[in-house]
C-alpha cells in the first residue's frame, strides 16, 4: 500500500498527475506539464512537495561519533545551524543512501534521507548504533516544501527575514504566519532555493500561503518530473541511479564528500582504494535520447551503462550520466545504444548546467 504526504489531496484536487515514487503517491506534474514547470524553476520560482523525504533525529553524547562512523563526510567541524551532505555507506563502501545532516544543537542532529530508503536506512543505522545516542525516525511527523528558483528569496523574504542565510545554512524555530518552521538554504535543482520543514499538519497551510504570496512572481506547483530533469542538468546524484547498493561514492564522483581522516569510519579501508568505475557526463551528438539502462560503448565494445538521461529542457540537448571503467575516464568519444541504434556521445564536464 503506497503512502501519501499531507499534500496528497491538494495535488489530486489541482490536476496533479499522480505516480508512485519511493513508496509514495506523488505528483509527476500538474496541468502545464514537466517542461513548463522546469522553466518556471529556472526562471522564476517553483514549489515542490518533498514531504516524502525521511527525517531522523540523533541526540546524545555519541551522536556525532555515530554519524562519523556511518556517513562518508566529516561532521566534526559542522557548526550549529549548518548543513552538510554525505553518503551513508557500508563496510565495503557501497551506498545505503545519500543524505543531509543538520546540526541542530551541541549534541543534536537532524538527518534527511530519501523516501524509498527510510526503512532500509533505519534498520542499517539501528544495527550499528553505539554509545550514548538516541535515534528516532520522525518522518511521519514532518512535512517538507522546497521553494526553488531565482525568485525564491524574493518570495520567502515577504514572510520572514532571511537576509543572512548563506548556502547550506539553516534557521530553526522560525515563525511563518503562526507556524513553526525550519528554513534551510538547500535544494535539489541547481537553482537558488530553500527547503522548509514543518509539522505534517501545517504543510498544506504553508503550501497555499507560499502560492498566494508568490502569485505575482509567477510561483507554480512543480512535480517530480521536473525535479528529475532539473537535478540531472545540475548533475546531482539520484539514489537508485547514480548511487545504489552496488555503487560507492568514489565511483559516483562524490570524493569531495568522502573524508577518510576520521577517528572511526566503517568504510575507511574500502574507500581508500581507487574506484574501478567512474561516473561521466555525456552529450549526444546524434539525434535521440539516451535513458537509464542504455548500454555505453567504446571502440565498438560494451563498457558501461547510462544511469540517467534526458533531453535537457534548459540546454535543449540530449544529456546523460553513465558509469564506465575507471581506465576510460579520460576518453572523450563514446557511443550509446538507444533501442538498437548506436548514437555518438561526447564526454562533457559535469554539471551540464550551472546557474
Amino acid at each position: 500500500m503506497e503512502k501519501i504526504t499531507p499534500l496528497f489531496n491538494w495535488h489530486k484536487n489541482h490536476n496533479g498527475n499522480i505516480v508512485e515514487f519511493g513508496g509514495y503517491l506523488m505528483p509527476l506534474h500538474y496541468s502545464n506539464g514537466i517542461l513548463h514547470e522546469h522553466h518556471t524553476v529556472r526562471t522564476k520560482v517553483g514549489l515542490f512537495d518533498v514531504s516524502h523525504m525521511g527525517e531522523f533525529h540523533f541526540s546524545g553524547k555519541d551522536a556525532l561519533a555515530n554519524l562519523q562512523y556511518l556517513i562518508s563526510n566529516d561532521f566534526s567541524d559542522l557548526e550549529i545551524d549548518k548543513t552538510r551532505y554525505g553518503i551513508l555507506v557500508r563496510k565495503d563502501g557501497t551506498a545505503v543512501d545519500d543524505l543531509l545532516v543538520y546540526r541542530m544543537a551541541d549534541e543534536e542532529y537532524l538527518v534527511v534521507v530519501n523516501a524509498a530508503n527510510i526503512d532500509k536506512d533505519e534498520a542499517y543505522i539501528r544495527e550499528h548504533l553505539f554509545g550514548e545516542v538516541v535515534f528516532q525516525n520522525i518522518s511521519e511527523d514532518c512535512g517538507q516544501i522546497a521553494i526553488q528558483g531565482p525568485l525564491s528569496q524574493e518570495l520567502l523574504k515577504r514572510l520572514t527575514p532571511i537576509n543572512d542565510m548563506p548556502y547550506y545554512t539553516f534557521k530553526g524555530n522560525v515563525d511563518i504566519a503562526g507556524k513553526n518552521v525550519l528554513i534551510s538554504r538547500t535544494g535539489y535543482t541547481g537553482e537558488d532555493g530553500y527547503e522548509i520543514y514543518t509539522a505534517a499538519a501545517d504543510t498544506e497551510f504553508l503550501w497555499e500561503l507560499f502560492l498566494e504570496t508568490g502569485k505575482d512572481l509567477g510561483v507554480e506547483p512543480c512535480g517530480l518530473g521536473c525535479r528529475d530533469t532539473l537535478r540531472l542538468e545540475a548533475a546531482m546524484p539520484l539514489y537508485g541511479h547514480e548511487l545504489n547498493d552496488e555503487t560507492t561514492p568514489l565511483e559516483a564522483g562524490l570524493s569531495m564528500f568522502v573524508k577518510l581522516n576520521k577517528e572511526k569510519f566503517i568504510a575507511q579501508d574500502a574507500l581508500s582504494e581507487k574506484p574501478l568505475k567512474r561516473r561521466i557526463g555525456l552529450q549526444l551528438k546524434d539525434r535521440g535520447i539516451a535513458r537509464e539502462h542504455c548500454d555505453v560503448y567504446f571502440n565498438g565494445q560494451k563498457v558501461g551503462v547510462v544511469s540517467s538521461g534526458t533531453k535537457s529542457p534548459t540546454l535543449n540537448q540530449s544529456i546523460a550520466m553513465a558509469f564506465v571503467p575507471a581506465e576510460l575516464f579520460k576518453e572523450t568519444q563514446f557511443e550509446i545504444d538507444v533501442r538498437g541504434k548506436l548514437l555518438k556521445a561526447e564526454k562533457v564536464k559535469l554539471p551540464f548546467y550551472k546557474r
Partner: protein, 121 residues
C-alpha cells in the same frame, strides 16, 4: 476528409485515392505529456498495420507509434525533427508520415467511435 483511429491511438486520413497521412490522437499526446523527440520512419520504408514505424518520446517516456495502414512511406514531416512539440499543440493537424496505401475501415474506428471509447480501461 474523415479520420479513422486505431486502438493504439494513431489516426489516419486519406488525401486522395492512394495517399494517406498518419498522426497521433489528442488523447495520445495528452497521455504522453511534453513531446521532445520523434524517431520517425524514412521515405521508402514499408509500414504494416499494427507494427511500429517510429517512437515518440516525452520527457519521461518512450512510446511506439504503430502504423494504422499498410503501405510505403512517401514523405515524412520534416518539421517534427526540430519541433516535435507540434504533436502536443496540434495533434490532429500534424501528420507524421505520408503513405502510399489505402485505409481499411474494418480494422479502425470512426472518430465518433474513438472519442466515445473508454480509454482508461
Amino acid at each position: 476528409m474523415e479520420k479513422y483511429y486505431a486502438e493504439s491511438h494513431e489516426w489516419v486520413m486519406a488525401l486522395d485515392e492512394n495517399t494517406v497521412v498518419v498522426g497521433i490522437s489528442d488523447y495520445a499526446q495528452h497521455a504522453l505529456g511534453d513531446i521532445v523527440f520523434l524517431s520517425n520512419a524514412e521515405v521508402g520504408d514499408t509500414v504494416t498495420f499494427g507494427e511500429r514505424f517510429g517512437d515518440v518520446e516525452s520527457v519521461k517516456a518512450v512510446s511506439e507509434i504503430l502504423s494504422p495502414v499498410d503501405g510505403k512511406v512517401v514523405e515524412v514531416n520534416k518539421d517534427l525533427e526540430d519541433t516535435p512539440e507540434l504533436l502536443n499543440a496540434k495533434p490532429l493537424e500534424t501528420w507524421i508520415i505520408k503513405v502510399e496505401g489505402k485505409i481499411d475501415p474494418s480494422k479502425l474506428m470512426t472518430e465518433e467511435d474513438y472519442l466515445a471509447l473508454d480509454k482508461d480501461h
